[in-house]
């Protein structure tokens, strides 16, 4: 038992889980930060990305890693369409915006039920998985399958690239400005519409990519997305709204907590752990994602 805990095996698993959570939470953070919409369908995008990778692999024989750019673009296009078709129109008038914000969560839950059940009708509820890069590599006393290693490396590279982009490009500055103070950002010339649109597409794209990476190691099923929404909420609340770096640290913490928690108890306790952390985090920060902002003021 002690040897398992001390070995690199679990640490690697925790890193892999943390990287996935960070990628999923990144999109939620962007969409919530810029538009103040708690998008509970976020996990369903992860699920859809997983299915896209699964069908590419089983029907067309395209490797999931090669399919990633296509999946990202497809999800980004979906995000763009959702933004232009639904949200911009609704947020256009202030009356509709106020009503939408108060009821947005029920609306998203409705959409989430629709997505999940359409997926269940189209793909059946049977969990689906495929064998890809499943050969075992050994590094010292750590044994890893190629797909886990590839998923971790791709997720880490993407996170680093997005982080660098947000730090170095002026878009990142505009985004942070918009998240911190909407009116102020508009005054100094931030094109709010453009930043929101970009966050939406980036958020949708990264969620689907995370799903495609997950499908290499875990089975996909129509109702598998919701726990990722919950994990993303935990990460965003712990890491701070709009703080991409804080989110990565929080995601790593959640990955460590989950991996070691499950290793110490049993896999039956995974959901208890996830929802337990979620409830605790919300209870200690009853103001939710606004917590950090309220303290700064």
């Amino acid at each position: 038992m002690i040897e398992t805990l001390a070995s690199g095996q679990l640490l690697f698993a925790a890193l892999a889980a943390g990287a996935t959570y960070a990628l999923v939470a990144l999109g939620l953070n962007l969409v919530y930060g810029t538009m103040r919409l708690l998008n509970v369908t976020h996990g369903d995008l992860v699920m859809l990305g997983g299915y896209a990778a699964y069908w590419c692999f089983t029907l067309a024989g395209i490797s999931p890693l090669l399919a990633l750019p296509g999946i990202a673009l497809g999800a980004a296009a979906l995000g763009s369409a959702a933004y232009h078709g639904l949200f911009r129109r609704m947020l256009g008038t202030t009356a509709a915006a106020a009503r939408l914000e108060s009821n947005s969560l029920l609306l998203f839950f409705g959409v989430s039920i629709i997505i999940q059940n359409v997926a269940a009708l189209a793909f059946t509820a049977t969990p689906r998985g495929y064998e890809y890069l499943s050969e075992v590599h050994r590094f010292g006393n750590i044994a890893l399958t190629g797909n886990r290693l590839a998923a971790l490396l791709v997720a880490a590279a993407l996170l680093a690239a997005i982080l660098a982009f947000l730090r170095l490009h002026i878009f990142g500055l505009a985004l942070r400005g918009l998240i911190e103070r909407r009116e102020g950002a508009a005054v100094v010339g931030v094109d709010i519409d453009r930043v929101q649109h970009a966050s939406f597409t980036l958020g949708f794209g990264s969620a689907a990519v995370a799903g495609a990476l997950l499908s290499m190691t875990e089975q996909v099923s129509p109702f598998a997305g919701f726990p990722y929404t919950i994990a993303a909420f935990v990460v965003v609340i712990m890491g701070g709204l709009g703080s991409i770096g804080g989110g990565m640290i929080a995601a790593l913490l959640l990955g460590l907590l989950e991996t070691y928690g499950v290793a110490l108890t049993s896999s039956n306790y995974r959901s208890i752990l996830l929802y337990g952390v979620f409830v605790l985090v919300l209870l200690t920060r009853p103001q939710g994602l606004f917590g950090r902002r309220a303290i700064v003021r």
Binding site: L38, V40, R99, L100, S102, N103, S104, L105, L106, L107, F109, G110, V111, S112, I113, I114, Q116, N117, V118, A120, L121, I230, F233, N268, Y269, S271, I272, Y275, G276, F278, V279, L282, L283, P286, Q287, G288
Partner: protein, 303 residues
């Protein structure tokens, strides 16, 4: 004032429920089964509306009270008579609501919605683990009472829930809860005991779902935590009240009847299609008819 509007509605619903009690004299088992699900949903939605429609704290985890009640009745089955275990189920749910109430009700708006969902899922997975540790993945319930008894019990609970919901709307508590829904800070400033009222509403809205869950556990004759804590039960409650209109005492009944009938036609043949229709109706009403059918039909201009 409000009492004038609620009293006729209350008497009307109670009269309909009293008439419905005659159903077993004329109907087949199938229709008693339909009556059971109708009465169950009316009892659940009326209870849910006490907290969520009146105070605006939308609970997406009300199934937790239903599930706890089921668990209490099943765990004491063949050791306690139903006359004792049903009230015990209601008390257990109310007690749970009381314990979690203070911390949970500090969380507002959309955060309360997802928190209530999280609490329900947490309790579900804890109970699954507890049952698994004891070696009962699922339990069979032998010697459950017949359909007609269960129907009578559920009708009684539906009447009780309606009576409670009507009484709360006509008292100071109901007005205070509505004030909290409109503006919690303003209500507090004007002297509404906000914390006490919210807690009272949560406890009162938890008790009857506990007893309903207990009766429904006997209806399905076997018990599995994943089934009695199914989040879809919470979703259905919300969708029914939003569609019917939560501010009116008749709203939950109308929504429950409408969706139960759709479910009766579709659930067995195409459960996914039913859930898609439920989600679409929920979205459409939230967007275009947020006051529900009753609110739309009898819009009362208030300043």
């Amino acid at each position: 004032m409000k009492p004038n509007r609620d009293l006729p509605a209350l008497l009307g619903i109670l009269a309909v429920l009293a008439l419905a009690a005659l159903l077993p004299l004329a109907a087949s088992e199938y229709w008693i089964g339909v009556g059971i699900s109708l009465a169950m949903w009316i009892a659940l939605t009326q209870s849910w509306a006490v907290l969520s429609a009146l105070s605006g704290y939308i609970s997406l985890g009300h199934v937790v009270f239903y599930g706890l009640g089921s668990y209490v009745v099943v765990a004491t089955w063949e050791r306690l008579p139903l006359a004792a275990s049903l009230p015990l189920a209601a008390c257990a749910s109310a007690l749970f609501a009381f314990v979690i109430g203070l911390p949970v009700l500090r969380v507002r708006g959309p955060y309360f919605v997802i928190l209530s969902f999280g609490v329900a899922e947490l309790v579900k997975y804890v109970l699954i683990a507890v049952e698994a540790a004891q070696g009962n993945a699922s339990r069979l319930i032998l010697g459950a009472p017949g359909l007609e008894t269960l129907y009578a019990l559920l009708l009684g609970l539906a009447a009780l829930a309606t009576l409670l919901a009507g009484a709360i709307r006509m008292t100071r508590l109901g007005q205070g809860l509505r004030a909290i829904r409109e503006d919690e800070e303003a209500a507090e400033t004007l002297g509404v005991p906000v914390t006490r009222y919210k807690l009272a509403a949560l406890v009162l809205s938890a008790a009857i779902p506990g007893a309903v869950g207990g009766v429904m556990a006997l209806r399905s004759t076997y018990f599995e935590p994943g089934q009695v804590f199914d989040p879809m039960i919470s979703f259905s409650m919300i969708a029914m009240v939003i569609i019917g209109g939560g501010d009116d005492l008749r709203g939950p009944v109308i929504g429950a009847v409408l969706l139960s009938l759709i479910s009766e036609f579709l659930w067995a043949s195409a459960p996914q299609l039913y859930m898609i229709i439920l989600g679409a109706l929920l979205c459409a009403f939230v967007l275009f008819v947020p006051d529900g059918l009753c609110g739309r039909l009898l819009r009362v201009r208030t300043q």
